[in-house]
């Protein structure tokens, strides 16, 4: 499996887009933490040598790197609690980490932090075919859950493209999606409960096997909280029956606007497909030599629409989809005739990221979401931005739920290109917000989109996020500096943007 490695190590010297001047950790204090962790964890549970720390300096977003003070690898829930208690005692930040496949730098270490790797909590504790649930530890890989449930005809629905490697704990932290979320939902719709620890080492359980829980829906807040609120040690997921059949229609369009209208027409016909994805020509041209999926390279856009269910049900839905697509101006249609062919049709979409890595030295993947009707407008704007920044951008798109993944191609070896790619990306995200969308549909804010948060949320809204943060983590030790920008940080970003012309948020106090 080729994991996305969007940026090469060559630009590792770049400063992360934040600094945390208040926090310093003297060598003596660092040593004291390391020694305490060694005493608490079973042998091999603490890494602190520079060469041991190197693999933990970034996640899937390799542009941003920091070396932590130490990495703790607990083997049990009680060891997780001990690590948290020790870090709290020493007032040292904790950055929880799963498989490190995240794409927003959410697991990038804070320079004064202990990285808490959940990789060794990797047991599937129980698969209950009657209750249709699985109780798993956070280090279990996403795909492993479905594999364990398969003998019972069940599976776990969210399927991020990194599902072979990414862990359930990471999925909970990011509220991960996948290509089937329009019909089957995101992580938040498929996790029934979590158990975890606060920074004070207190165990909390949110949600559970029953569908209703008393009190506020803290589970909904914990999911997607990017490691800022608690450390999850056990997850109860919902399993659903595997549909007997899935088939995909592949349609070509000579215009991306027409493809966008076809998506709306499918929804208007009362169909919620299991998957509904789009690629522009730049993307299909990039992936075709790599996967040989048989994509129509003359098409301006390719649409993939999947139906699942009983054979009769699938046949009926595929028939309807075909007629809607024809009426919407599709120039060619193909329906998968076997499971192998279905997977082949999907392979290009699922391999778009590694393919980008083949056609360009580096690429930068964005994750904005827009109301679907704005698709044509956004793609045109992106074309103009390509000219403005002198960089190419290929587009893959979870069309069913409006989630765009523009892949900006650049070469970090050329001076100034990363900077251009970064600004290109930020401009796409600001456009998404302007059109009623969001800066991140499924990859999370992490460190990458922290500045764009200033555009999407007012100071009062960000204050609410900090209120939530403080209710769970009053000391601010869990993954500090991520996901929510401070007022000062947004003011700084605002000043930066004045140079480009308009002031994006004049309501901000200026320091």
């Amino acid at each position: 499996m080729t994991l996305p490695a969007p940026l090469s190590a060559r630009i590792s010297g770049d400063e992360p887009p934040w600094s945390d001047p208040d926090q310093t950790l003297s060598p003596a204090r660092a040593q004291a933490v390391i020694e305490e962790l060694r005493a608490l964890l079973s042998p091999g549970g603490v890494l602190s040598e520079p060469e041991e720390l190197r693999p933990y300096e970034c996640d899937g977003l390799a542009a941003f790197r920091r070396v932590p003070v130490a990495v703790a690898l607990p083997r049990s829930e009680s060891e997780v609690r001990d690590v948290l208690t020790a870090c709290r005692k020493h007032n040292v930040p904790v950055v929880a980490r799963g498989a490190g496949t995240g794409l927003s730098g959410g697991a990038m270490p804070h320079p004064c932090s202990v990285v808490l790797s959940l990789a060794r909590l990797n047991q599937i504790l129980e698969v209950d075919p009657v209750a249709r649930t699985a109780r798993v530890q956070p280090g279990v890989r996403n795909l492993a859950v479905s594999e364990a449930a398969a003998p019972f005809g069940l599976y776990y629905a969210p399927d991020p493209s990194s599902q072979l490697a990414c862990t359930i704990g990471g999925n909970v932290a990011e509220n991960s999606g996948g290509v089937h979320c329009l019909k089957y939902g995101l992580t938040v719709h498929n996790v029934l409960g979590v158990r975890g620890y606060t920074i004070d080492g207190e165990r909390i359980e949110l949600g559970g096997g029953a569908l209703d829980s008393p009190g506020l829906d803290l589970l909904a807040v914990a999911i997607g909280s990017e490691g800022l609120l608690l450390v999850v040690t056990e997850v109860l997921v919902r399993l659903i029956p595997r549909p007997p059949l899935a088939q995909v229609v592949m349609a070509s369009f000579d215009d991306v606007g027409k493809a966008g209208n076809a998506v709306a027409a499918i929804i208007a016909a009362g169909i919620i497909p299991a998957g509904l994805e789009m690629m522009d020509r730049k993307a299909s041209v990039a992936v075709e030599p790599f996967v040989k999926a048989g994509y129509d390279l003359s098409a301006a856009a390719i649409l993939l629409c999947e139906a699942d269910g009983t054979p009769d049900e699938v046949a009926a839905e595929i028939g309807e989809v075909e007629s809607v697509l024809k009426a919407s101006g599709a120039t060619a249609l193909a329906v998968s005739r076997s499971e192998a062919e279905r997977l082949r049709f999907w392979s290009g979409r699922k391999n778009a990221f590694p393919a980008a890595g083949r056609v360009s030295p580096d690429y930068y993947c964005m994750d904005g979401t827009i109301p679907r009707k704005r698709l044509g407008q956004v793609l045109k704007a992106i074309e103009q931005m390509e000219e403005r920044y002198g960089l190419k951008c290929m587009n893959v798109f979870h069309a069913g739920d409006g989630n765009l993944h523009p892949l900006i191609l650049f070469d970090a070896n050329r001076p100034g290109e990363w900077d251009k790619a970064d600004r290109f990306g930020a401009q796409i995200l600001e456009l998404c917000v302007e059109l009623g969308g969001t800066i991140t549909g499924e990859h999370g804010v992490g460190i990458e989109k922290i500045n764009s948060m200033c555009v999407q949320f007012s100071p009062q809204e960000r204050a609410v996020f900090f209120a939530v943060k403080k209710a769970f983590d009053p000391h601010g030790l869990l993954n500090p500096g991520k996901a929510i920008p401070t007022l000062a940080r947004c003011a700084e970003y605002g000043r930066m943007h004045v140079r480009h012309g308009a002031l994006p948020h004049p309501d901000l106090p200026r320091f």
Partner: protein
């Protein structure tokens, strides 16, 4: 209207005078204490945006459910979480604040699963916006879902965006004669098969199973499940009465609503009077002399005293760690305690 609500909030916050936020008042009987001067919000109403092909509707919180459902029905769409109306016409804000969902919850999801975004007036009467109008959005903590079931203690909900779905092409209902214990067993076994079951309930010796989807899938499911096909009028009336809490068994003067994992074996209480959500919700008439909460907790669930006099809290107690987070959230969202004081948790 919004301006009036704002002024009331500002004034209440100045004097720390509690406000009791009220839409249509269909759920005044529900939850813990009713404290403070009534703040009517039903006047802040109207659809803000609805585009069927985006599968999203945005409406002001005072909009009545009937208005939303009529508009959606004209486009062949609906609110899949089937919020209860309690024989009247609740507001969207009240539906979100109460977080109650109907029979389809077991398959389609709860209110919170359909909330995409919300606007909220905080204690300083500033309107804040969380989430949005798009299907996928992970920017910031999911505060809009946090509002579902919050019973108004975090602020005044002013606008909500919901995901809507196309109405199923076809629906049929089967009735099986069986005991409550057998119903739990049958519902769970059926649940692990790829069948289009959108509701499964039991009452008065009958199990009711609703199938929703493509006609071919429903036909196959009927053959698999057996039982008697119920005529459309009877079936529609049954599911409506179940959804809106109008079944006779739910009119008992003292009732427990118990939420457990659907597959939990029959509890050591007297026989349930109603099962819903495939066995995940079980209703019991008063269980004098039994420690209902302890029995339910041992089965991995919680018990809500739906109706009947009690000096205790109606909701199942929270663990101390979770209660502490509630207190801290309330202190920060509403430092002077003006919003629906004591409605969700006594003393909060």
């Amino acid at each position: 209207m919004l301006q009036e609500i704002r002024e009331r909030i500002v004034s209440a916050n100045r004097t720390a005078a509690p406000l009791r936020v009220r839409g249509s008042g269909t759920k005044d009987f529900y939850a813990e204490d009713l404290v403070g001067e009534v703040l009517e919000v039903s006047g802040h109403r109207g659809i803000v945006d609805y585009e069927p092909t985006e599968l999203v509707i945005t409406a002001r919180a005072g909009t009545p459910l009937s208005e939303i459902e009529t508009l959606l029905a004209a486009q062949g769409q609906f609110l899949a979480f089937e919020p209860p109306a309690f024989g009247a016409d609740p507001t969207l804000g009240g539906i979100i604040a109460a977080g109650l969902s109907g029979p389809r919850r077991m398959q389609a999801g709860a209110v919170r699963d359909f909330v995409l975004g919300a606007k909220l007036l905080n204690a300083e009467a500033q309107e804040l916006r969380f989430g949005g109008q798009v299907m996928k959005n992970v920017a910031g903590f999911d505060v809009s879902r946090l509002l579902c079931g919050s019973l108004g203690i975090l602020g005044v909900i002013t606008e909500v965006s919901l995901k809507v779905l196309p109405r199923p092409r076809c629906e049929e209902t089967l009735r099986l004669t069986l005991s409550a214990a057998d119903a739990i067993d049958v519902f769970n076994r059926l649940g692990s098969l790829p069948l289009p079951i959108s509701a499964a309930a039991w009452v008065d010796g009958s199990g009711w199973v609703r199938l929703s989807g493509a006609p071919s899938a429903i036909k196959a499911a009927r053959e698999r499940i057996g039982g008697d096909l119920v005529d459309a009028a009877t079936a529609g009336s049954f599911w409506d009465r179940l959804r809106h809490f109008e079944l006779p068994v739910l009119q008992a003067p003292a009732l427990w609503r118990v939420s457990v994992p659907s597959a939990a074996p029959p509890l050591r209480l007297s026989a349930p009077v109603l099962l819903d959500w495939g066995g995940a919700v079980r209703w019991y008439v008063d269980e004098a002399g039994k420690d209902v909460r302890a029995i339910v907790a041992a089965a991995g669930g919680t018990a809500l005293r739906w109706r009947g006099a009690t000096t205790e809290s109606r909701f199942h107690p929270l663990s101390s760690a979770v209660a502490r987070i509630h207190r801290r959230l309330k202190e920060r969202f509403d430092p002077r305690g003006i919003f629906n004081r004591g409605r969700l948790l006594r003393g909060l």
